[in-house]
């Protein structure tokens, strides 16, 4: 064995990064745990989808609520937060050519999260903790359900501070100069939001655990909801920030692109740090105990500053890709740069599908449903699962999958196996997830309730007949939910096949060809200008205007709809 392989670091031939072995082991285990939980949670999700399909109704109500609780917790929290831990360690250690601060604490993070997730799983599968992800009091779960969540959250909090400590070491040991790279700054943003999120979770779950074992008599349901959503919604904001950081990373990796304005992008991340968590209030827009001033300040004023930040990222990421492509010679017309992008590369296709889908499906609907009046039409309906699948599945999960195709060669030192399947996977998954989200939002707009096993209300004393089209939308949505599951299974097969059977990349193998820096190519070309109409990224500008027009149109359609369901006379 050579000296290099014995040392604490190796130079990765795929990425050129200096990789600390201890940190890499932690990245591997967190990423592997994430994918296993994605599989488990996805199976429960498939059960939920096949039950909510009026023409199938697979599970009994008891099992449905158990499956819904398991699916929500595993896919909304466990898969994503394990993956985020892998991303944070990757950013703090690998991107900065650094070692990890306190690897022992990092292992504590891993085991606490794993044991916590297992305790929650045991409680849920035991059948007495079908309280769904929100676990609103006075619904009662087994004490080890709350304790498992607390351990999981504490583990994640430890991971956040290991990441911040790792940055301190990087600065002290001068593994980078100047400011942090933008993607790492995105990781800092996600970590800060995570700290608020986890502290909120601890503030409400610790007393709820004590209540479940009889040490506290009463938890106020309204206070529970306020503090819990500081945890429940903000945890999803961590995902948004992480997947946006991944967009920046992939645009740099695949195209050699640079952000259009790094200062503006950093400013947008700052807006997230300050205001993104305030969006939690939109879950409480129909709660009677909270004042309109609180609701409107948080959801209709402050959150728009975070929306502005999302629009900046949504403009600058494709804009940077367009500029890079134009600098490399694809400068004709409006969309040549996009047409000739590497659509067969799942790293790019997954990332771009995540970007467009998140903007048009998850993003627009999130902005519109945060308006207090419009929220009244869709509050607590299927619209919400439609919306958050549009953010967390269409956006976050797809971005994480795309990043995984790059991480496997770098972290696991294996080539991607089953490349044909990998090439198609983002399209199958996104097709399923996009139509699923849109159809569920359509059904929700017609009033179909969420959190109910049977939309026909068969055998119930207070029957209600939804329009036939609502049932049709539920059927269509869930059929595409099955297609989404097929896409997820394809991803898991590719990942497992690559890790266990993929061709090994030797440490001393020749460096992989680098993507050329767009600026260097442009300089060599001798050209002075790119773009048309005096703009460097006119295609992105047109796409951004289409997004704007869609938001405005969708906003007014909803107000028009509100006027019909809430007549004044």
């Amino acid at each position: 064995m050579s000296t290099t392989t014995m040392s604490e670091y190796r130079v990765d031939p795929v990425s050129g990064l200096k990789i600390n072995r201890t940190a890499n082991t932690l990245v591997k285990w967190n990423a592997f745990a994430a994918v296993v939980f994605l599989l488990v949670g996805g199976l429960f999700g498939l059960g939920v989808a096949l039950t909510r399909m009026p023409s199938v109704q697979l599970l009994s109500p008891e099992i449905f609520y158990l499956a819904l609780t398991a699916h929500g917790l595993i896919n909304l929290a466990v898969w994503i937060i394990f993956f985020e831990m892998a991303v944070l360690y990757f950013l703090g250690a690998h991107v900065l050519g650094n070692r990890l601060a306190t690897p022992r604490w990092a292992w504590t993070q891993f085991w606490l999260m794993l044991v916590g997730a297992a305790m929650v799983a045991v409680a849920v599968l035991g059948g007495n903790s079908s309280v769904m992800m929100t676990s609103y009091v006075p619904l009662t779960a087994e004490p080890h359900f709350y304790l498992g969540l607390i351990l999981f959250a504490v583990g994640a909090l430890i991971g956040c501070f290991v990441f911040l400590g790792t940055l301190v070491i990087a600065k002290r040991e001068k593994t980078y100069s100047g400011s942090l790279p933008l993607v790492v700054f995105g990781g800092v943003t996600a970590t800060i939001i995570a700290v608020f999120t986890i502290v909120s979770g601890a503030l409400i779950l610790i007393p709820t655990f004590l209540w479940s074992v009889g040490l506290i008599e009463h938890i106020d349901p309204m206070m529970y909801r306020v503090v819990w959503w500081g945890f429940g919604h903000s945890s999803q904001q961590i995902n948004v920030v992480t997947h946006i950081s991944i967009w920046y990373l992939i645009s740099s990796l695949v195209f050699g692109a640079k952000p259009m304005s790094e200062k503006v992008s950093r400013g947008a991340f700052l807006l997230y740090i300050l205001f993104l968590q305030l969006g939690s209030a939109h879950h409480l827009l129909s709660d009677p105990g909270l004042t309109s001033a609180w609701k409107i300040f948080n959801t209709s004023y402050m959150i728009y500053l975070a929306v502005l930040a999302s629009m900046i990222h949504g403009l600058t990421v494709p804009g940077s890709i367009e500029v890079a492509q134009r600098k490399k010679g694809l400068d004709a017309g409006l969309f040549t740069w996009l047409r000739k992008a590497p659509w067969g590369n799942p790293i790019f296709s997954g990332m771009f599908l995540s970007l467009v889908g998140f903007g048009f499906i998850g993003g627009i609907t999130g902005v519109v449903m945060s308006v207090e009046q419009i929220n009244m039409i869709i509050h607590n309906t299927m619209y919400l699962p439609g919306h958050f699948h549009g953010t967390l599945v269409v956006g976050t999960t797809m971005a994480f999958m795309a990043a995984t195709y790059w991480l496997i060669p770098v972290v696991f030192q294996r080539k991607i196996a089953l490349t044909g399947m990998a090439k198609w996977q983002p399209y199958v998954f996104s097709l399923g997830a996009w139509v699923f989200s849109i159809a569920l939002m359509g059904a929700g707009t017609m009033g179909v309730q969420r959190r109910h096993a049977d939309i026909t209300f068969a055998g119930q004393p207070l029957a209600y007949q939804y329009p036939e089209i609502a049932k049709g939308l539920m059927d269509i949505g869930e059929i595409f939910g099955v297609i989404m599951s097929v896409g997820a299974v394809m991803f898991i097969i590719v990942v497992l096949a690559s890790i266990f059977t993929g061709e090994r990349i030797a440490e001393d193998s020749a460096p992989w060809p680098k993507v050329e820096d767009a600026d260097v190519v442009f300089e060599k070309s001798g050209k002075k200008h790119i773009g048309i109409w005096g703009m460097e990224a006119p295609g992105t500008f047109v796409l951004a205007m289409i997004l704007f027009a869609t938001i405005i149109l969708y906003y007014f359609i909803n107000f028009k709809y509100l006027s019909t369901v809430w007549g004044m006379s």
Binding site: G178, S179, V188, T189, T191, V227, S252, E262, L290
Partner: protein, 51 residues
């Protein structure tokens, strides 16, 4: 991917803020804690009791 800051030039105040993870952490926890959590709980505490 970063814009290195020259050692000869004093960084802008905003850049100093963006480079200080600990101040950002305090702000990122304090702002939602005040405007969302504490204000929301204050609303609920002040609901008058039914006679």
């Amino acid at each position: 991917m970063s814009e290195p800051i020259s050692g000869d030039v004093e960084p802008h105040a905003m850049q100093k803020l963006l480079d200080n993870n600990w101040i950002l952490l305090v702000l990122g926890v304090a702002v939602p804690a005040v405007f969302y959590t504490l204000w929301g709980l204050w609303n609920i505490i002040n609901i008058p009791m039914a006679p």
